[in-house]
Symmetry: C2
Subunit: 219 residues, 2 copies
DNA sequence: GCGGAATGTTATCGTCGCTTACATAAAATC
DNA sequence: GATTTTATGTAAGCGACGATAACATTCCGC
């Protein structure tokens, strides 16, 4: 009945193979969601708004995700994929001979990503926003990041460089500080601490340096 | 017309003065909201659910709060009031002679409250959940807590006990760690770090001890 | 090409935050 | 102490949300 409403029927599809009606709606929704979160914050994300931005009806996303939380999980996985990529790159550049310097470099990489992608970091940190248990790939990458830090700690202990030999405690302390600094920034607590926007990241890195120096063996 | 439906007309008011129709609906809503958050988490709070629990219609809360965020702000202020009370008590018991021990005691008090009131801590940390600027009393109490920590740092510097003399940096480092540990717990990250529920608080306190020891002057 | 599976739309449901119109109880005024 | 005024409640309804069902279209295997 529709009298050839669009003459796109024979159009050659653009490089990302356009599949069915939309193309790759699933990926488009994830991308639109990430952009939305980046622009408006995680709490601004609604399934309908994402659908709007992808140019489809409000029910369309439910063909690809059973629930809002499932969509958020896919978005979180994409965010983690990006974080993981950057993190691994930083790891490769990090010193391997000096374990304490490596420990510090890992923390810096973590901080840097969080400060540059605050809303994405926010999503990844907040487990009420997505289904952590159901995000297999995300969990694996998260663990990989954790192991990198743990190994740096172990190496430092092996070289007898630290004032404690409790891997778990050292690990928790390092992560606690870095996580806290990133969270303070994301949660908007920095200004109240007399730390201006432009210097927040530098200050956070100095705080990490201070911890690293403090963890080093005194004698 | 109502034939003395209640014989309360001349009753001496109970300590929390029962006012109009409901009594003190405003306070009842705040209390119900706090209980709801404690039981179901901050994201479970809706104006309608709070109204339901207070036994009033879904529009009633809007007589006392112009918006959901205003209700959340009042709830946050009550949470902060409780936190502040406990914190001040701890401050009074904290050592005054040894600034580093005082610094540590302050951190422990902060951690302790966060671990025992995770959902309330969550609300206070997340500025998207309430109107921080509009919460005057909360802001004052928050600043008071911050000043207590800052003064401990200054005292420690004055006694030449720390490896840095940058108040702002030391302050940020201490708060960053404590905030991060509390946040990790609240955000549910502890288990993945091999830290079981029952030992999380003790571990967090040990991490704080480790930082305090590390900040102390080596020589 | 044809039939089913995959993927889209429209319409609808119940809940949410919030507003409006109305009702009633308490306080203020005389 | 009756009346007016103000404070506080309810009922009904709006638009947006997450989610589902019924229907339409497109793709893909045969």
């Amino acid at each position: 009945m529709p009298t050839a409403r669009r003459s796109r029927t024979s159009k050659v599809r653009a490089s990302p193979v356009r599949g069915y009606h939309h193309g790759d709606l699933r990926q488009a929704l994830v991308t639109a969601g990430l952009a939305l979160i980046e622009a408006e914050g995680a709490e601004a994300l609604s399934v309908r708004e994402v659908a709007r931005r992808a140019g489809v009806s409000s029910a369309a996303p439910f063909r690809h995700f059973p629930s809002r939380i499932a969509l958020m999980t896919a978005i979180a996985e994409e965010a983690m994929r990006r974080f993981h990529r950057e993190f691994v790159e930083a790891l490769e550049k990090a010193p391997t001979d000096d374990p304490l310097a490596r420990f510090r470099a890992i923390g810096i990489a973590y901080l840097r990503w969080a400060f540059r992608n605050p809303t994405h970091f926010q999503v990844l940190s907040d487990r009420t926003l997505f289904d952590f248990e159901g995000a297999t790939e995300l969990r694996r990458q998260d663990q990989e990041i954790r192991l990198a830090m743990e190994e740096a700690v172990k190496a430092a202990i092996a070289k007898d460089r630290l004032r404690s030999d409790d891997v778990r405690l050292l690990h928790l302390t390092g992560r606690g500080l870095v996580y806290g600094l990133a969270r303070m920034q994301v949660d908007g607590h920095m200004p109240r601490w007399g730390v201006a926007e432009h210097e927040a990241q530098a200050m956070a890195e100095k705080a990490l340096d201070l911890l690293a120096a403090g963890l080093a063996k005194p004698a």
